[in-house]
Amino acid sequence: MLRFFFKSSFILLIALFLSGCATTFNPATGRNELIFINSPTEVAMGHNVREELLKNHPLSKDARLNAKVEAVGRRLASASDRQDVQYKFYCLEEKELNAMALPGGFIYVNSGLMRILNDDELAYVLGHEVGHVAARHIAKKIQANMAYQLILGVAFAGMGDSAGSSAQNVAQGVDTVYNLVSLGYSRQDEYEADRIGVKYSFRAGYNPYAALSALEKIKKAEGPDWKILGYFRSHPFADERIEALERAIPKITGAEP
């Protein structure tokens, strides 16, 4: 019993020590969080990772889609609790129904997805990705899966005195970050990004219930293989997410206390 008491106290003391030293309050999640990657470093990583993304995924040349993603995105960005990054929104010329956010606020939506969604539904999708950025899901995932020196290597890729920095290590680091982002997030993070995304789209003046129609449209468009293709491969648990949003939306909009 005494051993348990001392062990628990020790763990609590370490947790308190760490929380006092390095945690910061995140208004998007409402929690104090331990994040070592500061915002400028995150943005620098995003710049370098997007170079990797754009090698294989071209930007759309469709002026209408580009104008739409920027216009809707700008409103979502203004609604975000996190304003220390400059959100940028792009459309990629890709048929696959998908969207992703890179570190630092670079948000990409595929043209295939944009073509089946109306503005309110697009606002939910962009809001969801802004939610991942605001909640620091990306930074947390990176710091949990990569050595800190490699993280800094990605941020500093192409900068400063490169003597001693292995270009191969940096390239590997960039690939690692890109793969981490592409694979999606935990169930908890997806639910949280959904709630935050709906909150931001509602704040920006869009219909919050469009989140449900967006997810249903994507399911229908992907056909019987919706669980393994496109959007739901990287944003899984569709039915559970729809149910969770149905419960959450009235609370988010204030229709229910």
Binding site: F17, F36, S39, T41, Y148, Q149, M159, G160
Partner: protein
């Protein structure tokens, strides 16, 4: 008798560079610790993938920030970030040495935190 004691003191000094007055060694690069700052406990975190060392000083926040701004600028460090709402928050690189530095106020004192 005095010589062995003196040698022991020198030995102890070099055993704990983190706690020695004046510098912290990060990836072989000596980074000055502002005069008067006292080290808090060094923690190893994230299963050994990152280390954090925090110092506290009575010197004002602005003085500590200016000290490191000048140091990085005058010694050819590449810098990402700068002053922010909490104080100072940068990632820096020179040669093999890369680390983050945060300077902020905590419990009325200025905290200087290195992460690498």
């Amino acid at each position: 008798m005095r010589a062995p004691v003196f040698l022991l003191l020198i030995f102890a000094f070099f055993l704990n560079p983190l706690f020695a007055a004046g510098v912290i060694s990060i990836s072989g690069t000596q980074i000055p610790v502002i005069e008067g700052a006292k080290a808090d406990q060094e923690e190893e975190i994230l299963s050994g993938e990152a280390r954090i060392a925090t110092y506290f000083t009575e010197r004002p926040l602005e003085e500590a920030i200016s000290f490191y701004e000048s140091f990085f600028k005058g010694n050819g460090f590449a810098v990402i970030g700068g002053r922010d709402s909490t104080g100072f928050n940068v990632a820096v690189k020179k040669g093999n040495s890369m680390f983050s530095l945060r300077i902020f106020t905590q419990a009325g004192r200025t905290a200087i935190q290195f992460i690498w």
